[in-house]
Symmetry: C2
Subunit: 355 residues, 2 copies
Amino acid sequence: MTSLRIFKQVPRLLFGFNTIDRINELLPKKNNGDYYIFIIDDVHQKGTIHSRLKHASEDMIEWFPASVKEPSTLQIDNLRDKFMQARDHKLPKAIVGIGGGSTMDVAKALSVMMCNEGSASQYQGWDLVPNPGIYKIGIPTVAGSGAEASRTAVLMGKERKFGINSDHSMFDAIILDSSLIKNVPIAQRFYSGMDCYIHCVESLQGTMINELAKGNASKALELCEKVFLSDGDDDMLLTASYMGGVSIVNSEVGVCHALSYGLSLELGYRHGFANCVAFNVLDEYYGPWVDRFREMLKIHKIELPKNVCRSLDEAAMQRMVNMTLKMERPLTNALGENWKDKMTPNKIVSLYERM
Amino acid sequence: MTSLRIFKQVPRLLFGFNTIDRINELLPKKNNGDYYIFIIDDVHQKGTIHSRLKHASEDMIEWFPASVKEPSTLQIDNLRDKFMQARDHKLPKAIVGIGGGSTMDVAKALSVMMCNEGSASQYQGWDLVPNPGIYKIGIPTVAGSGAEASRTAVLMGKERKFGINSDHSMFDAIILDSSLIKNVPIAQRFYSGMDCYIHCVESLQGTMINELAKGNASKALELCEKVFLSDGDDDMLLTASYMGGVSIVNSEVGVCHALSYGLSLELGYRHGFANCVAFNVLDEYYGPWVDRFREMLKIHKIELPKNVCRSLDEAAMQRMVNMTLKMERPLTNALGENWKDKMTPNKIVSLYERM
């Protein structure tokens, strides 16, 4: 039995179509010299989000190249230094993250790193952040990661992919506006939605769940199925993403996430996609849900690559195994305290080889 | 279409059996001369809660007679004055409310009234409270009202029962500990649980719902049915209460609540009980759910009184009608913008007469 954390929640949120137009109601007031930082997925450079934000000339916009690869601790350190130099070490009044899970993670991590010394890589882990960060707002434009609800800012470090898990990495406010997700490309919508589906399955099948997290996870799972197997809409997808995130704050992921981090590390796979590749071989752990997942793949005409680890050398595979073995909490959640007897290095390699 | 409020949530919570023993993790640190106020339902005077709180000699305990009648604005004003005099106008560091919905409402209202001038009756309404209140923690020992999740502190005024609806009446932290609700008498457990069931039905059947509120309400409804029609446990009931409260923050109640306030006003009925009496005659609005409610009554051997308004004179009935007609938002939610054409004074009287 694990000890339960104090369960942190986003204190204020706006839900609904076009609610991004009300962002000023959530932003702290500026005084002379104050400014906001907007971190926006660069896919939106061509769209209307920029003009809808009604930002002022003193604000800073950073177009984050979220589609290139998972964000890294080095990128966060560099961003922080860049802003601090540009503004002569004056801190921003707020940071707004607009995009998918990665972009929101960047906003969270930057908020924390503007108020804590050293490199972001020092804070990867649980509750290592001493100082609160800058006031921050999260606005998903791709739904599923649950990053808008969680206390995790996941970053790729030099040797490992790991979250800054801290109450200080929670958003102070979020906007769940379905007008922002309506143009997401089908594949991306799918992979991100499956991130939600998969972490809900993992938390519901795990040992660390409680009734409150179960309430959120089971509703999120139901909504995901409605969206991807039936006729659910964008409001449902945003609700699923949020409730899935809430459930994860108070429970834990499982085997799929433990393996998918390895894929992201060595193959540079985006998180949602890596989860899909891993989940597809996990019948042994999540049987009926893997079947349903394959049904969704078929409906949405998504083809996953085969034999993805074939080009990796032994050293790379070893790093992936090590990465997986570091995921102690997810593996304990999935397999119990004696998970090491079940998830041996050989077993991990055999799972990767089936992907 | 109503404009959506910014949706406020309790930022920190503890969930689980015996989590009340961790209350110190949620309380703000004291310095010299600081004290906490504990407002506790006086039914717990005989129990173990008092000793579990590990409070210090400088703290104040107020045993609130929640079973006598609904809390009033006058009681709040008097409590505030009493504490302020006893402590020479030094404000407490935190207020903790422990009990059912009423006791938690008292804690919320007191927190607000310690930082705002005048009488609590001046703040009954929507967003009338200018100053934030004292840091407050809510701990339900009866589950169902959802008061632990909401921005409402419902009080009986001289002429009307009405909520102080304000972001400042939200708890800063809550503890959902099923060890505290295991000894609630059957009838009270039922009436309070039905408060949750009924407000979920009202919000789901209303026009002001959105997908996020729906996610919470439908899960809470499902859990209530599991608890009262099947084998659901106390953790489920606490989760239902909390999620039902969350849904109500972002939606609205309906016909039943509009009528039940009149019953509380003139007959002094406790809220959950008044809701049950009213809901039982609302087939016209909530048909299938009223049927299921009657099934629950039967299973739990609860008999509702009959012809409850028989002893009321015309003036009393008029006050009840006026109270109901003041519930504009709930009635708009239930019946649409033209609710006055449907919910006429005659119609209201005929509904009361059937109860």
